[in-house]
């Protein structure tokens, strides 16, 4: 048993450190298992990565049921009483309870979830509209008999249920705003969803807000909408902002360049939005500055690492190689293009002098290689180096590499 736990631990760590595509493949494989057993523990260790990556997951009854509470769900060990959170250990008992209460209806819904994923937004909307309102009504006031398995006190059931009921009741509105997260969400959608939850109290509002900010491109604007609903909503808005500010930046070194660019681009939008949010000042302001700096550094590190791994090293290897094929040169250009994309996004985080310096160094280094290049198709040619510089630094710099010496 101890050995299994060690293996699970090792696998979990490896999964958390895997690159983006590998992690997505592991998730798809584990999601495909009928009996996942210890697999859940493996995924638990990569949970933070999964939140950023958000791969499509199979749409089971339980996953669909808790979508409107997505941002409020925490690992049981991190759960704190009275903080508008739902411990992960409570999900299964609550889902079972709802399934029992709904009986054949739940079975039918489970069947309809079969073969669908969280990426099927239309299906989530359709099925969610059926399941969430019924679940809100079905949840009993007394804790189920197996509640002790959650490791929570009996009294915690009612607090947890009190979070679930309003968020399920208004699940459709919440989901509409969640699904439009990339577009803000737009203020009317956000306002409608939050307004609906306000009568359920600050705890429910905080849970709803935490769910919405997780997917929101404009969390600051969202918090402002919440804060303006009622005077007492301001606190909930600030809790949600704290969650955003405390979120660790994605590990860009584990992401491929396209995914890293997408992640940084989304973060830049969020940071710029937060900087416009009047609820952020004082300590939060400092944390926001820290977040911008952390993302900037991570982005520059990823860029520099990519420059070395995808451009400088392959170019040097090709210089030394007997033959160079077109595909290898094209792959190097592709890497350069992806780096250019990351650099363009990264420049929005800082003045860009770091990138300018790195690119000047690159141009110089490739310029030094240029006189040693060949002129046959099977060799690395001056033109290939010039094109790399063109892609990364523009045509003017490339002209200098292309120009014959002297």
């Amino acid at each position: 048993m101890k050995s299994l736990s060690r293996e699970v631990n090792w696998l979990g760590k490896a999964t958390a450190q895997a690159d983006d595509q590998a992690l997505t493949r592991v998730v798809r494989m584990l999601d495909g298992l009928k009996d996942r057993g210890a697999a859940d523990q493996v995924l638990a260790m990569a949970r933070q990565r999964l939140r950023a990556l958000r791969p499509a997951r199979p749409l089971g009854f339980m996953r669909l049921l808790f979508l409107p509470l997505d941002g409020a769900i925490v690992a049981s060990a991190r759960w704190r009483r009275g903080e508008s959170q739902v411990p992960r250990s409570a999900l299964a008992p609550l889902a079972q309870l709802v399934q029992q209460r709904l009986g054949a209806r739940a079975e039918a819904m489970t069947a309809q979830c079969e073969g669908r994923t969280t990426a099927d937004l239309g299906e989530v909307t359709r099925l969610g509209a059926m399941i969430w309102p019924e679940a809100a009504l079905a949840l009993p006031s007394a804790a189920p008999t197996n509640w002790a398995e959650t490791g929570l006190a009996a009294a915690d059931y009612e607090a947890t249920a009190a979070l679930c009921r309003p968020l399920w009741q208004h699940g459709e509105l919440l989901w509409s705003a969640m699904a439009a997260g990339a577009a803000g969400p737009p203020e009317p959608l956000a306002r409608a969803a939050l307004q609906a939850v306000v009568p359920a109290g600050p705890q429910a509002l905080t849970a709803a807000l935490m769910t919405l900010v997780m997917r929101a491109a404009s969390p600051g604007q969202l918090a402002m909408v919440a804060a303006q609903l009622e005077p007492q909503c301001r606190a909930a808005a600030q809790v949600a902002l704290d969650q955003v500010l405390d979120q660790a930046p994605p590990q860009l070194d584990l992401l491929d360049l396209n995914a890293a660019t997408t992640a940084v681009s989304a973060l830049v939008m969020r940071i710029e939005d937060l900087e416009r949010c009047s609820l952020i000042h004082g300590d939060r302001q400092r944390r926001l500055v820290g977040l911008r700096r952390a993302v900037d550094e991570a982005c520059r590190d990823r860029f520099l690492g990519g420059l070395e791994a995808l451009v400088m090293q392959p170019a040097a290897q090709m210089m030394a190689a007997d033959t160079v094929n077109d595909a290898a040169v094209t792959a190097m250009e592709l890497g350069a293009r992806q780096l250019r994309g990351l650099e363009q996004v990264g420049r929005r985080l800082s003045g860009g002098s770091g990138y300018d310096k790195a690119l000047a160094t690159l141009t110089e280094a490739l310029g030094r290689l240029a006189p040693m290049t060949g002129d046959q198709d099977q060799e690395l040619r001056r033109m290939d180096l010039a094109r790399l510089v063109e892609i990364l630094c523009g045509p003017e710099a490339a002209m200098r590499v292309l120009a014959p010496p002297g």
Partner: protein, 377 residues
């Protein structure tokens, strides 16, 4: 960037663009710089070339700039700078001369290795095409001039060296004075092969590029129409207009190719005409090239697009549909220029919705344009 370019271009605005001749319309240049896509070159006053650029916002009208000013208003890619410089040196601006110059630039790797390989293949194919066409002309000459009473096998079943010998004999037999010795006629046939490289022979036994391009346009248009039919009303309307533009062009192209190929029905007469007035022969042959100039890029745009990017491609295609100059009406038998003008008027709605090249800074558009170079080499 987009605003800067538009402001800079405004002083070159030329209002409504209704060229009378192909030369006035200009020759399409396969630029890769996003802002130059769809640009054309034409001879200007005192034969100084001019750059004709469509309005980057997609609105009606063009900007006409001195060719020499190109690098001043937008930094061209290495590829475009090389094309700019090479085309500047051309004595004669025709679709073929520009294509040949552009191929040489691409073959040097300015648009990447894929485009270089494609340009080399295309250059080799053109050379093969000339050789093949020359051989077919010899076959045709033997068929037309050899007496059936000689009892020789059909020329297409004979060996190439015999065909050449028989062709020389035909030329010798046809010679009625000292004006055209067989060797000169054979040389003329070689030049004719080069001139007809694009149009080829009737039925296209040599796989000449212009009849193949007509087929490709028809295929692409079919796909565009199918996409439109399966899409929104807006997509359907845009697809229908693109289809109409292609149809008008193809109707004219069929006439142009048939007229050019008809000259080969009497090769001996053609050889004579070629010796005396080659320009009149070339004028007929080049109509197809001028007419279809720019459509290769349009087809490549469609073929390079992914299903999710079809609408964007259709919009770009709408922006690139070439004007048909009024001179076409003189020989094609209908008001092609007017019909195309009306179609382009409809397409303007979509051209105006073409978004600025938002991600050109990341090089994605340029990468796509380099792919077009490889596809339409």
């Amino acid at each position: 960037m987009q605003a800067d370019i538009t402001a800079m271009l405004s002083r070159f605005a030329a209002g409504r663009y209704r060229p009378i001749t192909f030369l006035e319309r200009g020759v399409a240049v396969p630029f890769t710089t996003p802002h130059l896509l769809g640009g054309r070159i034409r001879p200007g006053e005192r034969r100084m070339p001019e750059l004709v650029l469509a309005n980057p916002a997609g609105a009606e009208g063009v900007y006409i700039l001195p060719w020499s000013a190109l690098p001043d208003f937008c930094p061209p890619s290495l590829h475009d700078r090389a094309i700019w410089s090479r085309i500047s040196a051309l004595q004669l601006l025709t679709p073929r001369s520009v294509q040949s110059a552009a191929r040489k630039v691409a073959a040097e790797g300015f648009a990447g290795r894929e485009a270089a390989a494609a340009a080399k293949v295309a250059g080799g194919s053109a050379e093969q095409q000339r050789v093949l066409l020359h051989y077919h002309l010899l076959l045709e000459l033997v068929r037309q001039g050899e007496s059936p009473t000689l009892g020789l096998p059909p020329p297409e079943r004979d060996t190439p060296s015999n065909v050449e010998r028989r062709a020389r004999q035909v030329l010798e037999g046809l010679r009625q004075d000292n004006s055209l010795p067989p060797s000169a006629a054979v040389d003329a046939l070689e030049e004719i092969s080069s001139a007809f490289e694009g149009t080829g022979l009737r039925g296209n036994p040599t796989g000449a590029p212009l009849p193949l391009l007509c087929l490709e346009i028809a295929t692409v248009v079919q796909q565009v129409m199918a996409w439109g039919d399966a899409g929104t009303t807006e997509q359907r309307h845009c697809a229908r207009l693109l289809g109409q533009a292609a149809e008008v062009t193809l109707r004219c192209a069929r006439v142009a190719l048939a007229n050019a190929q008809a000259q080969l029905e009497d090769i001996w007469a053609l050889v004579h005409r070629w010796r005396v007035e080659p320009d009149s022969v070339l004028a007929l042959v080049e109509r197809g090239e001028w007419l279809l100039d720019g459509w290769r890029q349009i087809c490549a745009l469609w073929r390079s697009s992914q299903p999710e990017g079809r609408l964007g491609s259709a919009l770009e295609m709408a922006a690139l549909v070439p004007v048909i100059p009024a001179e076409v009406g003189d020989w094609c038998g209908f008001d092609a220029s007017g019909e195309m003008d009306a179609t382009r008027g409809g397409l303007r709605t979509w051209r105006r919705t073409v978004k600025a090249h938002q991600d050109w800074a990341t090089g994605r558009i340029m990468e796509r344009n380099e792919q077009l170079r490889a596809m339409a080499a």
